[in-house]
């Protein structure tokens, strides 16, 4: 009887993975043509480049900054203040990404808050419609990613840090080590596994971004902020080029595996 109940999700999983591979099915008869197209059309290849750039913003910065913030929380704000800051920072992770896109679309617009602040601090000359600027739009999208993911990384890392034996820190302090020493010699090495988890989650997040970009910029200006997730959608559902979209989807999934695998390996080796 249980077999039946186990089989249900099992079949769902088969259907699930079957989908994924069968998604490539319709294009088999053109051979590798779609893949070649992806690599030949600069706009398509560009989306993958953009995805890599977003990995920096969505992954490296939140994880790096999250480490710093988490260690600050664990060192100087162990009480209520730290608790509040953890919850506050976590907020953006819980809301709909579409909403995050809309909120920041407005903040980064010409009359939005970002420009208002810049003007207030005397940087009025650099104000612009950030998401409409060819050079800045992608980085502006990156800032949205930091906003969404920083709290998640911080909370995850600070929870892990609170499990580190405090006597390690005490010993270090008796030896006169400062915050920076402690950070690089105790915190970071001991948290390798959690850092790996954070990187994995955020890299997948970065590579699979869709909602934020779709709402905030729709890939524009031009193709400056187009990412694979969005391009797949556009190719498949507005241009009806299912084969090409699927090829890009497969490449995206490959990319995820290729990037995630070394991170996971690194984790396994250290533990």
């Amino acid at each position: 009887m249980y077999a039946v109940f186990v089989l249900v999700p099992f079949i769902l999983t088969i259907v699930y993975s079957f989908h994924r591979w069968n998604g490539v099915g319709p294009m088999t008869w053109v051979g590798l043509k779609n893949y070649i197209t992806v690599f030949q059309v600069p706009d398509l290849l560009g989306t993958i480049g953009n995805a890599f750039w977003l990995v920096v913003w969505f992954s490296f910065i939140p994880v790096g900054l999250g480490l710093v913030v988490a260690s600050v929380i664990n060192r100087v704000a162990t009480g209520r203040f730290g608790e509040i800051s953890r919850v506050v920072l976590f907020l953006p992770y819980i809301i709909a990404l579409v909403a995050a896109g809309i909120i920041w679309g407005w903040l980064l617009s010409l009359s939005g808050l970002v420009n208002q602040i810049l003007t207030a601090v005397g940087l009025g000359s650099i104000t612009r419609a950030w998401l409409g600027d060819f050079n800045w739009a992608l980085s502006a999208v990156g800032v949205i990613g930091i906003w969404v993911l920083l709290g998640f990384c911080t909370v995850l890392l600070s929870t892990a840090m609170s499990k580190v034996d405090p006597s390690l820190y005490e010993a270090a302090r008796i030896d006169g080590s400062n915050w920076i020493n402690e950070f690089f010699n105790i915190t970071v090495p001991l948290l390798k596994q959690e850092i790996g988890v954070c990187l994995t989650v955020t890299v997948i997040f970065a590579l699979a971004t869709f909602d934020i970009v779709y709402v905030a910029t729709a890939g524009g200006p031009g193709n400056a902020t187009s990412v694979p997730g969005l391009q797949i959608y556009i190719l498949a559902f507005s241009q009806r080029n299912i084969g090409l979209a699927s090829a890009l989807a497969v490449l995206l999934m490959l990319l995820v595996v290729v990037i995630i695998f070394p991170i996971q390996r690194l984790n396994k080796e250290t533990y």
Binding site: F5, H19, I102, L113, I232
Partner: protein, 274 residues
């Protein structure tokens, strides 16, 4: 432990700065939502004459009442079914260790790393073929499947940590596997099941891509999916757009504030074990 005053001050200042960075966007859209509909205020301008009516208007023009019904209906379809399946699967893999458990588990791990976009096209074509495209099942069915990797993993993690002795004792007393599950392990699993349910409700509410692709009528979508359509219509009417966004945010934020401990814990454990 002695920590310098300067360091405490600098640390707290950094935290305050980051909290401001996190909260300002919310404050900005809230203030903007109170400006007269159709105007273009500054990012943090104080509304001289707060237009609370914007919320009412956004509620009406976006058909929020229909939407809430439709979102709640999707949540009510997805969450219970997904919970039942994943609890049983987690029980079978984690507690009964049925043959092939590790293979099953591997399949689920693989599913965890899979981006939605990678499988959205086959889902679409399949739904067309099965004639469920554009129906109320269109979003619910694939969502249940997509939640499986995380939720099975999550439930397994719970069952794996339950001492085997409990089951063995019950077996001695003549319990069947079903008794074991129903009378002993299900009550013990209440907390993780509840957390998982909360998480899945939020995810369903926030689901965008599936709603966008699989349902043409914005009124049948999830809240987040509808917000996308709303943005399309009111992109230039910033105060109204902000009001609509806030209406959609409030339920998620409320749930989060009420259950923040469970939610944070659940998300973290899910991530670490994944």
């Amino acid at each position: 432990m002695k920590i310098g005053r300067g360091e405490i001050f600098a640390g707290r200042a950094l935290l305050l700065l980051l909290m401001t960075f996190t909260l300002l966007p919310f404050i900005s859209i809230f203030l903007t939502a109170l400006h007269p509909s159709g105007s273009v205020p500054g990012g943090l301008d104080w509304p001289t004459d707060p237009q609370w009516g914007n919320f009412v208007e956004a509620f009406k023009v976006a058909n929020m009442s229909t939407l809430i019904v439709s979102s709640v209906r999707i949540v009510l379809m997805v969450v219970p079914i997904a919970l039942v399946i994943s609890t049983m699967a987690g029980f079978a893999i984690g507690m009964l260790r049925i043959p092939g458990s590790s293979l099953l588990l591997l399949l689920f791990v693989f599913g965890l790393t899979l981006p939605f976009q990678g499988i959205i096209i086959p889902i679409y074509t399949l739904e067309r073929a099965l004639h469920i495209y554009n129906t109320k099942f269109a979003i619910a069915l694939p969502l249940i499947a997509l939640y499986m990797p995380f939720s099975v993993f999550w439930m397994r993690a719970h069952f794996v940590n339950i001492p085997v002795e409990i089951s063995e004792a019950a077996r001695v007393d003549g319990a069947t596997t079903w008794d074991l599950f129903r009378r002993i392990h299900l009550p013990l699993a209440q907390a993780p099941i509840a957390s998982l349910g909360i998480l899945m409700s939020i995810w369903t509410w926030n689901q965008f891509l599936l709603a966008l692709v699989l349902v043409e009528d914005p009124n049948q979508r999830t809240m987040a999916g509808a917000l996308g359509a709303f943005q399309g219509h009111y992109a230039t009417n910033v105060p109204l757009l902000c009001a609509g966004t806030i209406i959609i945010l409030v339920p998620t934020l409320l749930v989060f504030v009420l259950f923040q401990r469970q939610i944070i814990k659940a998300l973290l454990q899910g991530a670490v074990k994944g």
